[in-house]
Amino acid sequence: MSQYQENATVTRVEQLTEKNYRLTFESPLIAGVCKPGQFVMIRTSIGQDPLLRRPFSVHQVLGESQIQIYFKEVGRGTTLLAHAKVGDAYSIFGPLGRGFKINTGGPSILVGGGLGIAPLLLLLKENCRLKKTFDNDLVILGGRSRAEVEPLLEDFKQYGVTVRVATDDGSLGYQGYVTDILKASQVTGDSTVYGCGPELMLAGLAKICKEVGVACQVSVESVMACGMGACLGCSRPDKKGSYIHVCLNGPVFDAEKLEWNM
């Protein structure tokens, strides 16, 4: 497993909604090795405040040497990142964690909610590269409203897979939850559901998939200090009553291995 720390230069800044941004970095070493579902740790300040790095999923790998993150401004670190300018350099290390294991044997159903959409684009690309056919594949994207989903729609549609949308307020696509769409879809037993999004959505996915009896991989979050298994800070209870570590054992897990609070 290769990991690198690089000083990555920002090559593009996109503000997709009021609070959502997409940054492209020239980060050739990391770009060369990262897999869907893996993440990177980014230092957001030059000083000591905020002190710790922030974890972000790899959203896309562009060409040979660029990686993208897609993030929401929620606090001090992401606010600093939101002010990034082309040419600024950030210390990034990664790729970290275990990503999605793409099941090439049956249909793929990618379900993303809110910022959970971030890792699915790289996953979809790899999915389409690895699989012979993806006629029965499905992407379900959810968000609070149109603004949160629309800017990314074309990026997903370009792969030719069916994309469905759910928004809380119905301003785009179906009014309701991504899980509603999943429930209403034809899901064959050889399918794999890949999910990323808010905890409640993932718990819902896990439940549906268990009932229907299909495999479900979810990418979960946790507070992190190191991102690489050194601090043991990112623990999360597993089904067996002990702790797993999101950065090392995840962030992608088989949903059935985790403990879900609904």
Binding site: Y4, D49, R53, F93, V223, L232
Partner: protein
Amino acid sequence: MEYVKSSGDSFADMQVNIGSLQLKNPVMTASGTFGYAREFENLMNLQRLGAVIVKGISLNPRPGNPPPRIVETSCGMLNAIGLQNVGVDRFIKEKMNYLAGLNVPVIVNILGDSIAEYEEITSRLQGVPGVAGIEVNISCPNVKKGGVAFGTDPKMAAAVTAAVKGKSTVPVMVKLSPNVSDIATIALAVEDAGADSVSLINTLIGMAVDLKTRRPALANIIGGLSGPAIKPVALRMVYEVAKKVSIPIIGVGGIETAEDALEFMLAGATAVQIGTANFVNPRASEDVVDGLAAYVVKEKLSSIRSMIGQLNLA
């Protein structure tokens, strides 16, 4: 001699001695912040380290605390990992092999809730290839004494030290708690009890509150404060202890750069440990080695040892 990357073909005398333990340079990694070293193998050159101190080991495996276990604070972080570890036997079986292969002295940080437990872990570590020293974490609660931390009472601190020394064939470093009125007294007590060196400081006890949920930010309510925020407290304690004890002192607390490390050495530390900085910069410990070597060359020091305790008070 340490090769100086940044200054051409120079070499710097970086060796320090922690009692009978010879280190090729004064830079160690602090317990609990460097996993079992392997986690960092892709991101730095582990061979460059003076020593590796591993995550605290108890007699039996400990699951640790429920999440959230960490929270960031101003220039620092709180952790309440709850001393999660695989226990001494699995540690020896699963982790020591790799560590021994590094050719870097491995110091095993140990913890217990009774003196007997400290003794037993120490015994089991004897003769294990690669184990070059033991660091005794005395910030743990003494279950028999109503949960008062060993490290806050000179007598209990001395008792643990003597017990571990009694079972150990390798040098024993005692790691002091900063949550005390008078750290020099504790340091003297463990020195008298036979400690080969003292490391300080462990984390300050702190707390954070999440206003949104109106709950403590850590499931454990309180946690240990580390990072640059605590550096002034650590430096002061190293300075105070250095005035009192004659065994080597290892400085820990908020060290991020070679400059920080040099400040601790001036205050009286023979070596340093890099903790939280490993999270911010996984190459921090190697960067400190580089920086110290460059300083020795730039300042034309006979050796890095010539900095120890050389704070100018005139």
